[in-house]
């Protein structure tokens, strides 16, 4: 795809990933019976969900509150390695059920003064860092307490996760977890098309709370449709060709039709680790104990 087309898409589509109260995705519609869930998983081809057993074989592993165990599986990376499609095995891992909220992040800056807005080093967070808060320890608008924290840099997100004894998910882990269809998706529905239809809706004035879009078949909320999210190795994305990058010819994508994925990767390529962006938040992951 031509870069010009990507620019065009950015112009046409709301950059703050819009949220929409899509009736078909409302929480009440999501509590399918276990049997129905299994039937849905069989029809799921990207990523391969492994949770078919009703016995939940991983249930014996230590649980972490607020986190969901994402069973390992096979994942087709969007960016080709050495020009070839090469599937990657993703080991099981835990992922936060929803994005880190403003209230969560307030606890973090209370405990870690160096990450307060007035104290943070510019090299780790630019001047937009926590720009929508009213002060160092004041979220301001009470309506966003339970909304995803945004305007935070990669360094701040990384520090938060480590403070929690967690880490940022890798790009592959995030994409793998986000590739699951909504819990109530119909057979044969295409995730890319669902995402693009969200982008058609205007962004809300105030970012809605977490768990307000949809839960996917892995059991995590809002992977698409609420915010963009930092990943540990976001700066591994190189779409641009030419002399800028070593190993010419490595730029290539697995699915040239997946515009939604293209937008995510192009966005990742365009940012730097100290950027604080209004539509960009994060969630944490952790290894299996």
């Amino acid at each position: 795809m031509k870069p010009a087309l990507i620019s065009l898409m950015f112009l046409l589509l709301p950059p703050t990933t819009p949220w929409t109260q899509n009736r078909s995705l409302s929480p009440s519609a999501q509590n399918g019976s276990p049997n129905r869930l299994n039937a849905q998983n069989r029809s799921l081809n990207r990523p391969t969900a492994q949770n078919r057993s009703p016995h939940r074989p991983w249930a014996s592993k230590q649980d972490h509150p607020g986190m969901i165990l994402i069973p390992g599986g096979v994942f087709q990376p969007f960016l080709l390695a050495s020009g070839r499609k090469q599937k990657e095995h993703i080991p099981s891992f835990f992922l936060d059920e929803h994005a880190v909220t403003n209230a969560d992040f307030l606890e973090f800056v209370r405990a870690n003064p160096r990450w307060r807005r007035s104290k943070v080093a510019r090299v780790f967070a630019d001047s937009h860092y926590l720009a929508q808060w009213s002060g160092d320890l004041d979220i301001g608008n009470g309506q966003i307490r339970n909304s995803p924290v945004t305007d935070i840099s990669w360094f701040a997100a990384d520090a938060y996760c480590r403070w929690k004894g967690k880490r940022l998910p890798t790009l592959a882990e995030w994409e793998y977890a986000a590739g699951a269809l909504p819990l109530n998706a119909k057979r044969g529905q295409n995730l890319s098309r669902i995402i693009l239809s969200w982008y058609d809706h205007p962004a809300p004035a105030i970012l809605p709370p977490v768990e307000s879009t949809y839960k996917n078949k892995f059991g995590v909320w809002d992977m698409h449709g609420l915010i963009w999210e930092w990943v540990d190795d976001f700066n591994s994305v190189m779409l641009k060709g030419g002399n800028f990058y070593c190993a010419a010819g490595s730029a290539g994508t697995a699915d040239k039709e997946d515009y939604a994925a293209y937008m995510r990767y192009a966005f990742r390529e365009s940012i730097q680790a100290n950027y604080a962006v209004r539509s960009l938040g994060f969630r944490c992951a952790r290894d299996i104990d």
Partner: protein
Amino acid sequence: MKTIIATCSLIFLIGVSCRRKPSMDPVSCCPKVGISSDISPAGPLDARTSIYQLPGLWTDQHDRSLELSRLKGKVQVMAMIFTHCGYACPRIVQDMKAIQDSLPDAEKNNVGFVLVSFDTQRDDPAQLQRFAEQQALDGHWILLHGSSRQVRELSMLLDIKYRQTGDNGFTHSNSILILDNQGTVRTSLDGLEPQTGTAIDLIHRLTAG
């Protein structure tokens, strides 16, 4: 109201994406986009923008431990490479050597050259030392080995992108960074076109200041 917010955030995001490297634009054949237009070596140095705030111990080619802050006090010309790289990295090193050779004698001792390896597995201090000898790098050069975590963090501070490829190699940005004597990145020379003149001019202003 919603429309206004949407428009504002659109403008904001476009602003963000174009702040440094307009990666959404079509790439021309001979791009020079990495050169910051706001080079102002005469301006006050802000310690908060120094990359030397990144904590952690690195190992050099002589197996000595050092923190990045040890690089303070000199202008540093820095790049990230891996020694098994066949194509771009040798050219990056050649470009850096060309910069070193073009420096006026009076400035030679005020400028250091730093190579940091992506390849945390194979580029141990001994391999870095071998590479330094092969390339005839003198005492002004420091070659650094770190953990994969440190390398990832540093790449982010330098805005260098990289990804390990299946065949034990790395795809990466081709950039040479010039840091002032406090560790703030003053420019990024991107692409494989030698930009020795630009580098020499900037180093001259930085060492004079």
